[in-house]
Amino acid sequence: MGQLRAEIGLEIKPEFCTQCGKCSSGCPAARLLDIRPRKIVLMAYLGMEDEVLRSGWLWMCSDCLACEERCPYQVGPYSIIMALRELYAEKGLRLPSYYGPLASSLLKTGFSQAPIRVRTREFKRVDRESLGLQPPRGPMDMKRFSENLKAVLGGVRA
């Protein structure tokens, strides 16, 4: 059987699954894409993680947690998908392009993104300063912070 474990965070119990389908029934992404949390749980249980990693389904989850909330056996379909995302990163597989800039920004500023200029309803451009807001205050000791973060980023490459 599968050895998938959630190291940190909510427990996963793929062996409790009865394949009732409640997770897929409530999955908003399943109405638009191929993802079926029910299948992912069964495949995790059967040790078919590699097939799931190759399928692309992992990046179809919208993070809504409905499956996690309502599963009768508290199997944790969402947590299983997240544990598979971690496995994907650990194996060095190519992550969606979203993560590179995210990791960069975190290492450089401490935040997931730097403030941008946005447009108003009158199509003018404003930013924090022009709106009277203070600039963000990231980590005071950026050097130590980024060292620490780099040490724990694991399979995510900036």
Partner: protein
């Protein structure tokens, strides 16, 4: 009441209206917002692919709050869940807490995990209270029929402490009614805004937002009230694209509760950042006899 103000990356970097309106209205209701001397991302965006990075980032914010000896007030549903999940994780796993403190000690920080993290919804509903908000209303929203969007991370998973009920949350609607407006139910009320999918499948994410807006439009609602900057990005910001993708009109005025509250308290729309909303908020404003 004093809280360390943690707007979160999205509000801080682009959803300026949430911060503007929160900074305006909260002090008027007795909630003092103290700026954090330093902060960082709550870690939620990176959590799935690197749980340890998440734990470090979330733990670092909590450690800073503990150093400043004040509880945190957050604007974003994702941040709130992130911090609560970390508090829970370090209780379950002492080894994790040790690892985090080993890292944090290099920055002169220490994490205990006891600091409280309150979402602005909780502060307004549970601490300030509906009655105090009613008293602060200068311009009643009587006649307006509004819809509420709670957002997934605010109410799930209910195995962790969440600000409202997962299947029948009430607090936002109670706060809306406190301003004199009435509230409308709609079938897609608990549906996800799609923002979690936006980075990977943008079109489908926007369709999800569009379906939600459509469901709201069908009730004849005057506007949608939200609590989270991610949700706002989708529901307020993607209406034109949603319309194209779904082939039907999904126009609905969308605004933050703090903006709505500010309007009822007599603040001017620009003070509340309403000129930054991308959805047709003028319709809502004219319903109140107010112009931008």
């Amino acid at each position: 009441m004093r809280f360390l103000f943690f707007p979160g990356c999205t509000a801080q970097a682009e959803q300026y209206a949430y911060e503007l309106s929160a900074r305006r209205v909260l002090p008027e209701l007795g909630v003092e917002l103290v700026d954090l001397p330093e902060a960082n991302c709550c870690g939620y965006p990176i959590k799935a692919v690197s749980p340890m990075a998440w734990a470090y980032l979330a733990g670092r914010v909590l450690a800073i709050a503990e150093r400043e000896r004040l509880d945190l007030l957050v604007l974003c549903n994702g941040c709130h869940l992130s911090f609560y999940e970390l508090k829970w994780a370090i209780k379950q796993d002492r080894g994790l807490l040790e690892k985090l403190n080993e890292l944090l000690s290099r920055e002169g920080l220490e994490l205990k995990g006891e600091v409280r993290v309150l979402h602005v919804l909780e502060v307004l509903h549970d601490l300030v209270g509906v009655k105090a908000i009613q008293r602060a209303v200068k311009k009643s929203l009587d006649g307006l029929r509004l819809s509420a969007h709670y957002g997934c991370h605010l109410i799930r998973p209910s195995t962790l402490p969440r600000p409202d009920d997962p299947e029948d949350p009430r607090k936002l609607e109670e706060l809306i009614r406190a301003l004199g407006a009435s509230t409308l139910d709609y079938p897609a009320r608990l549906d996800c805004c799609g923002s979690g999918l936006a980075a990977f499948h943008g079109r489908e994410a926007i369709k999800m937002a569009g379906w939600k807006l459509s469901s709201i439009r069908e009730t004849g609602s005057d506007g949608l009230v939200v609590l989270c900057p991610f949700c706002m990005k989708m529901l307020d910001g993607k209406q034109a694209i949603a319309r194209r993708l779904l082939g039907r009109d999904v126009e609905v005025p969308v605004l933050y509760y703090t903006q709505l509250l500010g309007l009822a308290m007599g603040f001017k729309p620009r003070e509340l950042g309403l000129h930054l909303n991308l959805s047709p908020v003028e319709k809502l404003l004219s319903g109140m006899g107010v112009s931008m």
